[in-house]
């Protein structure tokens, strides 16, 4: 849509803020990934009265059904992040594949496909998710697919633009003239040159994916009770926030810290890689 904007003055080192963000990201990731194996108790077993405050054996108190909040927090990040990672991977694979092809293929066929891709971009991501996720019972997969599909058009656009830039340099023409097949061209000439852009873009898509998967949990889409899910925990425990605010505050804080840190980090990385367009990441 717009020419890639060079991030003026962004060529310095990552800076302390970025390292700080990286630290926060790693910390939240560690909670999400190491949480389930390390959690001391069951996330579904009832261990006390609902919304009990912190006490002996229950460092953070209990949730709305009297389950151990600490155990639920440790179990609840995995699904949000795994879905976001999965959706990003899906979007990046589809986007990179399609983008490279469209970047190299000239002519009307490519134009028509591009129009179709734009079509998908018009679909508000949350609407897509609402339609798909309500259609699939207990559908974490539906959430993943919806989030992935919503992000694909943007990924595809970025990859296509990058591929075109590479194709215009003459490398590709030379290689083709040498008699290299398309696979070889993509593998040796295109991919190495666009890898940075694609990865940086994946970072931006990841931010949007975290937002959307958390929102899905909040709206009650995807796999339901009794699984823990940070987005869902906020919704479930909101009515009892006056009795024990921790079941709302902690998942919200973890989600917010992670989303904000990833966003800042992705922005820095994107600027360094290619002055990428970071728009269109919010749904």
């Amino acid at each position: 849509m717009r020419p890639a904007s060079p991030g003026t003055g962004a060529r310095e080192a990552l800076g302390p803020l970025a390292w700080c963000c990286a630290g926060v990201c790693l910390l939240v990731l560690a909670v999400a990934v190491l949480g389930p194996p390390l959690a001391p108790g069951s996330p579904t077993e009832q261990v006390g009265p609902p919304f009990a405050g912190p006490g002996a054996g229950l460092p953070l108190g209990t949730d709305f059904l009297g389950r151990d909040l600490a155990a639920r927090l440790l179990h609840g990040g995995w699904v949000v992040l795994a879905l976001a990672v999965g959706a990003t991977a899906l979007a990046t694979l589809l986007g990179a594949g399609g983008g490279i092809w469209l970047g190299l293929a000239a002519g009307r066929g490519g134009e028509i496909v591009m129009r179709a891709v734009d079509l998908l971009a018009v679909f508000p991501p949350l609407l897509l998710m609402l339609l798909l996720a309500t259609g699939a019972p207990a559908g974490d997969l539906a959430v993943l697919v919806a989030v992935g599909l919503a992000a694909t058009p943007f990924s595809l656009r970025v990859t296509r633009a990058a591929t075109r830039r590479v194709a215009a340099t003459g490398y590709v023409l030379t290689a083709r003239a040498r008699g290299d097949g398309w696979t070889a061209v993509v593998r040796y000439d295109v991919l190495p040159n666009i890898a940075g852009t694609v990865l940086a873009d994946a970072g931006i898509r990841f931010v949007a994916a975290v937002h959307l998967t958390a929102t899905a949990g909040f709206l009650g889409l995807g796999r339901g009770a009794p699984d823990a899910n940070w987005g869902r925990m906020i919704r479930e425990n909101l009515p009892g926030a006056a009795l024990n605010p921790l079941p709302v505050l902690l998942p919200a804080a973890l989600l917010a810290a992670f989303a904000v840190a990833v966003n800042l980090l992705a922005d820095r990385v994107a600027e360094r890689v290619a002055g990428l367009d970071t728009s269109g990441s919010d749904g």
């Binding site: 609902p50 919304f51 709305f64 019972p137």
Partner: protein, 527 residues
Amino acid sequence: MEPLARRTLLRSGLLAAATAVAGPALLTGCGSGGDSSAPTGAGPRRGGTLRAAFTGAGAGETLNHFVGGTALDMVRARALHATLGDLDPSAPDGVRYGVLETIEVDEELSAYTLRLRRGLTFSDGSPLTARDVLWSLSSPADDPASLPVYRNPASTFDFGGARVEDDHTLVLPTRAPLADGRMVLCQGNYLVLKENSDFSPGTATSGPFRLEEFAPGEGCLLTRNEAFSHPEADEAPYLDGLELRSLPDSDARAAALTGGQVDLAHDLSPVTARTLRGDERFTVTSTDPPYVSGLFFRMNLAHEPFRDPRVRTAFKLAADREAMVESVFFGDATVGNDLLGPGFPDYADEIEQRPFDPDRARRLLREAGAEGMRVTLTTGPETPGMVEVATLYVENLVAVGVEATLEELPAGQLFADYPAYARLPLAASFSVPTPALPLYQMSYGARNPAALGWDRPDVDELVATARGTSGEESARAGLAAQRTLWEEGNTIAPVFKPFTTAHVPGVAGVADDLFEQFPGFSRATLS
């Protein structure tokens, strides 16, 4: 009858003395609005517009309550239209009549004669006649979109053979001998509309209020219907107006109450109710049986292990009912006995309460060779507490050695695909307050798909006998049917939850309307 008590105290000049003795506790009991509401003359305080929030259905709401099944639809309809009558366990007939004076039944239990009160009119001044009553009862059966509860009278009464003897007398023949016809007609749902009503906002109505403004999905504004004649309270309704708000989310209803945007919030989630109970600015009331909703699970008899009665009994014994009542409802619910309709006259409360006995459950499962059986319980957030109770029940099952898992469907999906629902091995559901035996015939007997495989003509026969006879014979058959259900049935009904309403202390007289699951305002006051 708190206002009455206060009035008595005031009149006899005892309030000052009582305050001196009882101290501030009594003052709090009187509510913050005590001074302004202190009625000086006779009757309750008149005037004011009460604002209340209920679950609605969004922009698709209509004034046709025959097709709209939300709480708001029912409450609005009961404010606009006069009731035939309501269940009242303390009344001689078991019902309190609205537009009716009496209902008489003949010796053979084959015809019911409804006699209307004289001088009743609609809001446009036209008389309310027996023809209007007949149309109100019979017309929903012709519309396939009508809710089952409104189509039901047609399966009990033969409206084709109904006779309007004069403006005040309607004779309804029954399709089979029926002893509890009064209870069927006076459940509180059956209201009187003008014959051939088109449900448009301008239609004449017969209830305590008239429609002023209707904004589908947002709410409606009603004003007092001066033409309404309350069967017991001459002066009623006391309110000038009524603003009913449509809010789908229980938390939003509570927030509207705490934020001062409404005076009364209906059907609160257990947690919200608990939070509000701690807030002295509000009064939280919960309905008692029979006005309670059962949260139950049904075992599918097509699912092999459940064919063994020992497994079914084990599943019933495994439920820790007290714990569910305590942790989901903070104690504000009733333990269920695996039978629906507690509190109604036909409910068999002489059957002993099923204990929580995980050891025996484990033993029974072992005997039946069903140890470690796998089963998935499917539920959905269809009513507050439903998912929570299911979550705890699955933990109970795991505790007795069943490999149980929970599947929660998104809102609205559980009953959307009914054939799929009928195939679930273990499915959650909920009941609305309905007498036990009619409920059995409506949704359980005669191989109803909702019964998930329950097929017992002998029990169907017993229920039919109980409803078709009276006295000792009826009672014996009803008890026998429910005894069999309790022993061999495929329903686990661990909890009956009340409908919880919170309001500002100035609201009074709502419970006087009976049919308590849906607050009525014909005798409500606001101060």
